[in-house]
Amino acid sequence: MDIFLQQVINGLVQGSIYALVALGYTMVYGIIELVNFAHGEVVMVGALVSLSVIERLVSRGYTGWPLIVISVLVAIPTCIALGLGIERVAYRPLRRAPRLAPLISAIGVSIALQQIAALIWGRNYLHYPDILPKTQYLIGGAVISQVQVVILLSAAVLMAALWVLVQRTRLGRAMRATAQNPAVAGLMGVDVNRIIATTFVVGSALAAVAGTLIGAYYQVGNHTMGFLLGLKAFTAAVLGGIGSLGGAMAGGLLLGVIENLGAGYMGKLTDGAVGSNYSDVFAFLMLVLVLIFRPSGLLGERGVEKV
């Protein structure tokens, strides 16, 4: 087996999920310069809502991919409503407050959502029923599962769609203009509040998909799952250059690959002293290194396309 190729594949799969989540961070940051620390919790809610839908439908005899599709169709509006609610209640009133205020508000929302999720879904790890085919495909000495293929494809399609939305539509142009100069965008007739809300809608919809895909892939979730995931995706956004769409995509994929390669080779390099369970360390090591040596991120130079 080709370990390198295998870890790259696994890394790209995990990384494309990071990328979907990182896009939510980066879009919101690009437009209101706020790190939406509650974004990881929106992903968690997406994952647990789709789990609930799946469980309900499994008991009625449904199975396979259609179940995932139905569950994501429930998770998306739920997460959108949640994202809009967070923006309206926790951030909009603080738009002119010192920058620390919305950050604290974000952390508060994050904790509140975790606790509410614990009330709804309990505090134990929840396991997803086995509903997806275990089909695997061989590519050059490595295997890729059907679930992995679907994750890669859906992430690719969503990112392409987002790119078109932001770069090629009137709405996307207004989003970019608002990110660059909200006061002047207002003079052009752009309702800045609506544009900000729209970025939360888009980010939350992507979070819902990411949550559903994570559930399908790892088949386990609980009320705290958004924390580490959010931190990783935020790292990916910083890695790529926060505020940059391309950066979030590249940063997510890169982080996934680095983590998995690190995990794959760590044991070997250290003769088993440090095992693959240290893979999280890589993510945060990367974050620290980037913040020290290239705080604007890999793609986050001046002149980069912000949303």
């Binding site: 970019r176 965008a185 003079l187 007739g189 752009v190 980069v304």
Partner: protein, 237 residues
């Protein structure tokens, strides 16, 4: 003549600072009026209040018979008023063409927008050459052209310009003023805010002189050019 814009008793405060202390001002349909004054006189604050970027502490603003006070900024252009802000305010990472399209954001007549885009490229050749370039890479003068073109793309009834000559080389200033004059000649109502008094008075029909948040003098532009007080204070004589 009918007033298109009518301001009365306008006051703007920043906390305890009174930047505009109750001014009256009127611009008639089709007129090019200038508001001149030294740095810090309160000109920008006045325009920001007109645009809804600042809430006036007191006073009335009527445009085409309608009150503008309390109107959200994004309704300004829908009401027919376009502000070219101080410092131009182009979107640096949008292309020239995208900036112009942003000016037409509230319009839905695709054909008319394309026609106006061509009209702007005719008015400003440089913008046509650089239409695919990011606006942030343009020179100051080109950015000012873009800001004016972008405002015109919204098909406003009136143009508010905040110091379009600021920081530009003399030749570019002449070009910009020429364009403003041309737009006015074609029937646009214009309120031109300037620190460069000589230039503004040569272009405008009427003028207001602002000092310390108050209008200290108003007359035809020609009369201002001949007035000894204005000459001493603003024309360096």
């Amino acid at each position: 003549m009918s007033a298109l814009l009518e301001v009365s008793g306008l006051e703007v405060h920043y906390g305890g600072i009174q930047a505009v202390k109750g001014i009256d001002l009127r611009v008639n349909q089709g007129e090019l009026v200038t508001l001149i004054g030294a740095n810090g006189a309160g000109k920008t604050s006045t325009l920001k209040a007109l645009a809804g970027l600042l809430r006036p502490a007191a006073g009335q603003i009527r445009f085409a018979g309608q009150s503008l006070v309390g109107m959200p900024v994004h309704q300004l252009i829908r009401n027919g008023l376009a502000l070219v802000p101080e410092g131009r305010g182009v979107f640096p990472r949008l292309t020239v063409a995208e900036n112009l399209m942003m000016g037409a954001y509230v319009r839905r007549d695709a054909d008319g927008i394309i026609a106006d885009l061509e009209r702007m490229y005719g008015l400003f050749e440089r913008l046509h050459e650089r239409r695919e370039q990011k606006a942030g890479t343009l020179s100051g003068g080109e950015q000012q052209m873009l800001a004016i073109g972008r405002a015109l793309m919204g098909r406003p009834r009136m143009l508010l310009l905040d110091e379009p000559s600021m920081g530009l080389a003399p030749l570019m200033v002449q070009k910009i003023i020429g364009v403003i004059r041309q737009v006015a000649n074609e029937g646009m109502t214009v309120l031109l805010v300037e620190q460069n008094a000589r230039l503004a008075l040569q272009a405008a029909e009427r003028a207001y002189v602002m000092e310390g948040g108050r209008i200290s003098f108003e007359d035809t532009a020609q009369a201002c050019l001949n007035d000894p007080r204005v000459r001493a204070a603003y024309l360096g004589e």
